[in-house]
């Protein structure tokens, strides 16, 4: 009985603490606002900036890991949307082409967060997009270029647009 209670308890804790990685696009007029400060201070959200490119009077982009209670995260994301930040799950921008991938496992040696990993029982090479932080190291290590990440272009196109 005790064990069941404990399990339930653990489950509820896991449901409450919410960790997700987002790909954010900031419109020009938000670049002078202390957005991250507000997320932390006003919405009690733990953040981890994984990648960012934000300069004054330019569109900015950021890969942000967000951690907090479900309700706080919900409010925080609502705040971001309100000020015009485009929010997308990073996982939606990363994929593995399973037709190309032959599950050699070379990628598992460079992935720093084990989003690409090997299930040891059968040595299957698996990809968990929710864990991916968008570091892009796997892109060129994969011998058949099976990993696709639509961030690089975004990064570049913003650089190009701003230099016009």
């Amino acid at each position: 009985m005790v064990i069941i209670a404990k399990t339930n308890n653990r489950k509820s804790v896991r449901d409450n603490v919410y960790t997700r990685i987002y790909f954010l696009k900031f419109p020009k007029d938000t670049s002078d606002k202390p957005v991250i400060f507000s997320l932390i201070k006003e919405h009690d959200i733990e953040v981890n900036i994984l990648r960012a490119d934000i300069l004054p009077q330019r569109e900015g982009i950021m890969i942000l890991e967000i951690k907090g209670s479900k309700s706080n995260v919900k409010k925080g994301l609502a705040y971001l949307e309100e000020i015009g930040v485009n929010i997308e799950r990073l996982a939606a921008r990363v994929r593995r082409d399973d037709d190309k991938c032959f599950q050699c496992g070379a990628c598992t040696g460079v992935c720093p967060v084990d989003a690409l990993y090997i299930r040891r029982e059968d040595m299957a090479v698996l990809f968990d997009p929710d864990k991916c932080t968008g570091c892009s190291q796997c892109l060129l290590i994969c011998p058949v270029r099976a990993m696709e990440m639509s961030l690089g272009k975004e990064w570049m196109s913003i650089d190009a647009a701003s230099s016009k």
């Binding site: 190309k100 032959f102 599950q103 050699c104 496992g105 070379a106 990628c107 598992t108 040696g109 460079v110 090997i118 040891r120 059968d122 040595m123 299957a124 090479v125 060129l140 290590i141 011998p143 058949v144 270029r145």
Partner: protein, 391 residues
């Protein structure tokens, strides 16, 4: 123990296959059968053990005959999608090597080079039925007047296409690490400075030559699974080295035996033949290879029963030692350790990553097993075995 005590012959196995009662198991299954039942019972019960491997195999390529035209041509320089092929063979014959990069590739000028397209990719594109730009130059003779050629071709248009790999199926291979202070990009992948990762490239217990360590069944004329079709072992491979140090079970502890294999490219599938780009190193071709091992003797049954715990390789420094011909392995590790995800070197836990697909190797062994069971794949007795170790 060295004496071959004959259990069954090739003919008897093929009779059983025809009758539909041959017992075929994969090399992985054989390891547990031998462990559970003992080698004698296993040898009596099992007729054939199937193996498989799927990894980049650099010494690969294809002989392509491009067909004649009018006026006739003796091609001396040949390109497929801008990838140079060797034309010094005969009028319209060429050999396209898997590691040949596209002529306009920046190579390692922008380091580490990406090597996006090479001979291996042309072979894969041919198998995908894609049109390939064929270009050739000739100096012109009275019998072969044309001096140039430029047209699109597909695999179907070619009168003859033979996958011919001078060195495949390496029996064991090094585990690579980097002891220096800078990252290196090798054919064994990216190796971080200061022993921070290790790579290896063998299917271990599933790998063909690990299951026949003394080459008692594999030789010229052995029918095999090659690139999704039936191919043949046609010779021992380049760099075949049977006289290396072996474990007490007879299995080589370093890279050793190799095979030359051939098969009709037109019968193959892009699922089992894939062009690869190895960062900072170059192009290659990943090839699916599987060999059935007939259990002719107790000795062969014993070898097929050896599992990853008893298969070992050497940990070699690719930052300095390999390039400088220094033979000074850092350690000996088992494939069971390598497959566990980390090994211990100089008191340090190092993450391992494979370059050879166990999932695909297993699939090949399973396909071979089904094909033999269905009677679509008969075993062939080699005309001559490949050279074994000196007695």
């Amino acid at each position: 123990m060295d004496q071959i005590n004959n259990i069954r012959t090739y003919d008897e196995i093929n009779q059983k296959i025809k009758a539909g009662n041959a017992v075929i198991v994969t090399a992985e299954e054989m390891v547990s059968i031998v462990r559970d039942k003992g080698v004698e019972k296993a040898a009596k019960h099992v007729d054939v053990v199937t193996t498989g491997t799927f990894a980049p195999m650099c010494s690969s390529g294809a002989f392509l005959n491009i067909g004649q035209m009018i006026p006739t041509i003796k091609t001396s320089k040949v390109w497929f999608n801008k990838v140079p092929a060797y034309g010094g063979l005969a009028a319209v014959d060429a050999y396209l090597g898997a590691t040949e990069p596209s002529e306009d590739d920046p190579l390692n000028k922008v380091y580490p080079g990406e090597f996006k397209y090479g001979g291996g990719h042309v072979i894969e594109d041919l198998l995908r039925g894609k049109p390939i730009l064929l270009e050739a130059k000739a100096y012109g003779t009275d019998c072969y007047a044309a001096r140039k050629l430029k047209k699109e071709i597909t695999l179907e248009d070619l009168p003859y296409a033979l996958l011919c790999n001078p060195r495949n199926g390496y029996q064991n291979y090094n585990c690579a690490v980097n002891r220096t202070e800078r990252t290196v990009y090798t054919y064994m992948g990216m190796l971080k400075a200061g022993l921070r990762n290790a790579t290896y490239c063998s299917a271990g217990e599933l790998s063909p030559l690990f299951n026949d360590p003394f080459y008692k069944t594999i030789g010229i004329g052995t029918r095999i699974f090659l690139g999704g079709a039936q191919g043949y072992v046609t010779w021992h491979g380049t760099q075949h080295r049977p006289n290396v140090q072996r474990s007490d079970r007879g299995v080589p502890l370093t890279p050793s035996g190799t095979l030359m294999v051939q098969g009709d490219l037109k019968e193959m599938s892009h699922d089992w033949v894939k062009g690869v780009s190895i960062l900072g190193y170059g192009n290659s071709l990943a090839v699916g290879l599987g060999i059935p091992i007939p259990i002719l003797s107790l000795e062969i049954a014993e070898s097929t029963g050896i599992g990853d715990e008893e298969l070992f390789t050497q940990v070699v420094d690719y930052g300095h030692d390999y390039t400088n011909g220094v033979s000074d392995p850092l350690a000996q590790v088992s494939y069971a350790e390598l497959k566990s995800g980390s090994i211990e070197i100089e008191g340090k836990q190092i993450k391992t990553a494979p370059l050879s697909s166990v999932v695909k190797a297993r699939q090949i062994a399973e396909i071979l097993k089904k094909d033999i069971e269905n009677g679509t794949f008969q075993l062939s007795e080699p005309v001559k075995l490949i050279p074994g170790p000196n007695q």
